[in-house]
Amino acid sequence: MSDIDIQISSKPLNVPICYDYVSDHRAGGNALFVGTVRDQTHGKPVVKLDFEAYKPMAVKEMQKIAETMAERWDALKISIHHRTGTLELGDIAVIIAVCTPHRKASFEACQYAIDTLKETVPIWKKEYFEDGAVWVAAHP
């Protein structure tokens, strides 16, 4: 069994908390991905972001991702935190931390997690520009 820590929070996320969670004597490789609010999208300045989550289902989908990381890449400990609410430039939207016995697996598991999170987890991002706002990816 792996240790899995899933959180969705409206408070600022914290990299050392996720790193400390996955730190383990059995592991040699720890990979982290931290997604932050970029100051522009396709060259258009971004003012802020809003994240909305369908929380109970989002937690379940994040849990599924973590379980797949444990099964496929022997991940020992996994921490996935996602922020909700209003985020300013540079704020952390998501942290994924994972530890595995060997390093290659930690990268693969971490990349799988963020790629899958962006496809399956019911969380929606609204980008605010100076002249309006859009729900990201809503339209073709």
Binding site: G35, F51, E52, A53, Y54, P56, M57, A58, K60, H82, A93, V94, I114, L117, K118, E119, T120, V121, P122, I123, W124, K125, K126, W135, V136, A137, A138, H139, P140
Partner: protein, 97 residues
């Protein structure tokens, strides 16, 4: 909104309806004008019929890249038959991370 014909009982068609709770998030919330509501469907309605009914009532759903319906906090296939008491959630394209 009422969908479908119901089933024949005692030689004539009567309509058996059930009311299901529907939640909307992201752009779906903007399209339906609220976060939570209820819709009526005939017995044996599938997710496909739910999507058709929504698109008929709110044509803006047709403009989305796609949208899914989750039932009781899980994604469901379009062939899923909804049941009394199911919680349906309209899931427009997700964009977390």
């Amino acid at each position: 909104m009422r969908v479908g014909l119901g089933r024949p009982i005692f030689g004539q068609y009567i309509r058996l309806f059930m009311k299901v709770k529907i939640l909307a998030f992201g752009i779906a919330k903007d399209i339906v004008g609220g976060k939570a509501g209820a819709m009526e469907f005939s017995e044996n309605a599938t997710i496909t019929q739910v999507k058709e009914a929504l698109t008929e009532k709110y044509p803006d759903f047709d403009k989305l890249a796609k949208f899914s319906i989750a039932v009781n906090e899980s994604y469901q296939e379009d062939t899923y038959v909804i049941k009394e008491g199911d919680e349906l959630v309209i899931i427009p394209p997700v964009s977390g991370g």
